[in-house]
């Protein structure tokens, strides 16, 4: 299984959830149901005490999960339990310190062994990536690069070294649902595509089927996080059918 499988002849729907929110059993069930709902790749958020790139919704999910005692090791164990039952790529999204403090080599080796396909670190820009990306390569993990609306002259440099897919950040600011997404994101995607052949997915701010459709039409896929985490927040352990319905609706829209 590879990250590129998520983009084979289709627009990819990438769903994000925070591991351990509200508990790890629910996360486990969610992964299976999100796949059944039609998602092509799942981003598993490993909670961090101070997630500086997140808006209030995912911040609160991190706090809930940590309060309930989630740890990196418990998340590894959960992935080990379910990996054989899941047929789509899985990536970890977390913060540099979660990996660094565990021991970068030890963390990435374990992640690869459990069947994780890639890593997203929103606080590690191009200048700092080699500390992580070199070790990712060693264990066959894709280190996913992010490109933002402010990247401008940096786009080609980042895109040329990108691996897995390019995470195109749609808007300024942190993660979270937005009413409208700036129009020039299509131009940024074009710019990225002029420098690389790997797929480009758009994330940040997407929540409605219409937004998902629009963003998918100008890229290779879309990423939705806060809108799903909101459903988890609202329904707690009973969130699974609601998340399934939402995922299905979004998949149909793109």
């Amino acid at each position: 299984m590879k990250i590129s499988d998520a983009f084979n002849n289709k627009k990819a729907f990438i769903a994000f959830i925070t591991c351990g929110d509200p508990d790890i059993e629910t996360t486990e069930k969610l992964i299976l149901e999100i796949e059944r709902g039609g998602a092509d790749l799942i981003e598993l958020g490993i909670p961090f005490s101070d997630p500086t790139a997140e808006g209030p919704v995912i911040q609160a999910a991190n706090e809930r999960a940590l309060k309930n005692g989630i740890t990196t090791d418990k998340i590894f164990n959960m992935v080990r339990r379910i990996r054989d039952k899941v047929n789509i790529p899985l990536v970890f999204m977390t913060y540099a310190n979660v990996i660094y403090s565990y021991g970068t080599d030890r963390f990435l080796k374990t992640a690869a062994e459990t069947g994780i396909n890639g890593i997203i670190l929103p606080d590690v820009p191009f200048e700092e990536k080699s500390e992580f990306s070199v070790v990712c390569e060693k264990y066959g993990l894709d280190f996913i690069s992010l490109i933002a609306p402010t990247s401008k002259n940096r786009i080609e440099t980042i895109a040329r070294e990108a691996s897995g897919f390019v995470y195109c950040v749609s808007s300024l600011g942190v993660t979270g649902v937005r009413n409208s997404i700036s129009a020039n994101v299509a131009d940024i995607v074009k710019h990225i595509k002029s420098a690389t052949n790997i797929p480009v997915a758009i994330g940040f701010g997407i929540s409605t089927p219409a937004q998902a459709h629009d963003m998918a039409s100008c890229s290779d896929g879309i990423i939705i996080g806060s809108a799903i985490v909101k459903i988890v927040e609202k329904y707690g352990r009973d969130c699974i059918p609601h998340v399934y319905d939402y995922v299905k609706e979004i998949k149909q829209a793109i």
Partner: protein, 394 residues
């Protein structure tokens, strides 16, 4: 290794959205730091507005009482707005203005940096937004009022532990929302490159003056320079021009809170480990999974789970020594300096005074200690009274 490294520490661990902003800042700083007009303007602001140079005061009564080394106090508490914070703020806001920015944002813990920032923003005609942990807005209500009086908007931060680290996180988030007209005035020698270098350079006026003043008064360099350390801006300012003078011992005093063997501490070097947070690699108080620890100190200004990367490096190479000082010791020193010299130090600075009280008696009378009094203690009086069981409000 990326830019802005102090040994393995430092770097630029920030979202891609902010990268061009910090690159732009670095380029502007590299240009203006050698620009005569910029430096003349900054010197005028330092001297005519902030009241520099600050005094190097011979604490004769304290010296006699401790009966050891000769003690000098570097009086950063006499600066306009009452602390060393104004040095960095005037430099950064002048730089931001040259860069065409019209709005500044800042984090604050006790409110000293926020007040300094609101002050300089008022002076230079900039819009100013300050982020402050909800808990700190309640502990330091008077400073919230001062900032509002100066024209700033104060945003209470409810996330996480609702203290300084969360204020820093929220200011970073705000910067990713609005960059084009906005400069983030980071208040300490921390965060992503180039902040640790910029803040250190603007604060290094402290050690430049100490050196000149000590040479003028004593004809030689001091034997010890000491300062309190949270993020570490007053300490690096006091140390910087002595780093190459190996005869000068540099001592940073961290906040041990209720003790370094308790969870209620903020002593990063004593209890922390290497980590990556708030844009930098350095030492942090954290658990085995890298979750940042809730820290505690009686001093809101030292109540931070990390330390600037240059201090981490000075610790690694053994150039500076870092010691932990408890709440109790700091409060005793707060009262001691008030009664002995008629100088009420900030509770932050009292951590350095406390360590001087410990070491001065064991040093010979021909030795010289300089303690950086980073701020004045008026802001702390109500809290110290409460600590002593007197229920007074501001």
């Amino acid at each position: 290794m990326s830019k802005g490294r102090f040994g393995e520490h430092g770097g630029q661990y920030i979202p891609e959205t902010l990268m061009n902003a910090v690159i732009e800042l670095e380029e502007a700083y590299e240009h203006y730091k050698n620009d005569k007009e910029f430096n003349d303007e900054l010197t005028t602001l330092f001297n005519e507005y902030a009241g520099r140079p600050s005094l190097l005061y011979y604490a004769e009564k304290m010296t006699k009482d401790l009966n050891g080394a000769k003690i000098y106090l570097k009086r950063e508490d006499l600066n306009h707005t009452g602390s060393h914070k104004i040095n960095n703020v005037l430099g950064q806001i002048l730089l931001a203005k040259k860069m065409g920015k019209t709005r500044v944002i800042a984090e604050t813990g006790a409110g000293q940096h926020g007040v300094a920032c609101a002050t300089a923003a008022a002076l230079m005609g900039m819009e100013c937004e300050v982020f402050m942990g909800r808990e700190d807005t309640e502990r330091q209500a008077l400073n919230v009022y001062r900032m509002r009086l100066l024209g700033a908007n104060v945003h209470p931060v409810d996330s996480g532990t609702a203290t300084l680290k969360d204020a820093v996180s929220e200011t970073m988030r705000e910067w990713t929302r609005r960059l084009s007209d906005t400069h983030y005035v980071l208040g300490s020698v921390m965060g992503p490159h180039p902040f640790p270098t910029i803040v250190r350079d603007f604060q290094s006026v402290i050690s430049k003056e100490i050196k000149e003043q000590c040479l003028a008064k004593e004809g030689r360099l001091p034997d010890v320079v000491m300062a309190c350390v949270g993020g570490g801006s007053n300490a690096i300012g006091a140390f910087y021009n002595f780093i190459d003078d190996s005869s000068v011992k540099l001592i940073g005093c961290e906040a041990a809170g209720r003790g370094i063997d308790t969870f209620e501490t903020a002593a990063t070097i004593s209890t922390g480990s290497s980590g990556i947070f708030h844009g930098m690699k350095s030492y942090f108080c954290q658990d085995e999974y890298g979750q940042i620890a809730p820290v505690y100190s009686i001093s809101a200004g030292l109540d931070y789970p990390g330390i600037g990367p240059e201090h981490a490096y000075l610790h690694d190479i053994g150039r500076a020594e870092y010691v932990a000082v408890t709440d109790d010791e700091a409060v005793n020193a707060f009262e001691y300096l008030s009664k002995t010299e008629g100088i009420i130090p900030a509770i932050e600075s009292a951590h350095a005074v406390a360590h001087a009280i410990k070491i001065a008696p064991n040093m010979s009378k021909d030795k010289i200690i300089v303690i950086n009094i980073s701020g004045r203690g008026d802001k702390d009086c109500a809290a110290i009274a409460r600590y002593r069981g007197e229920n007074i409000s501001e």
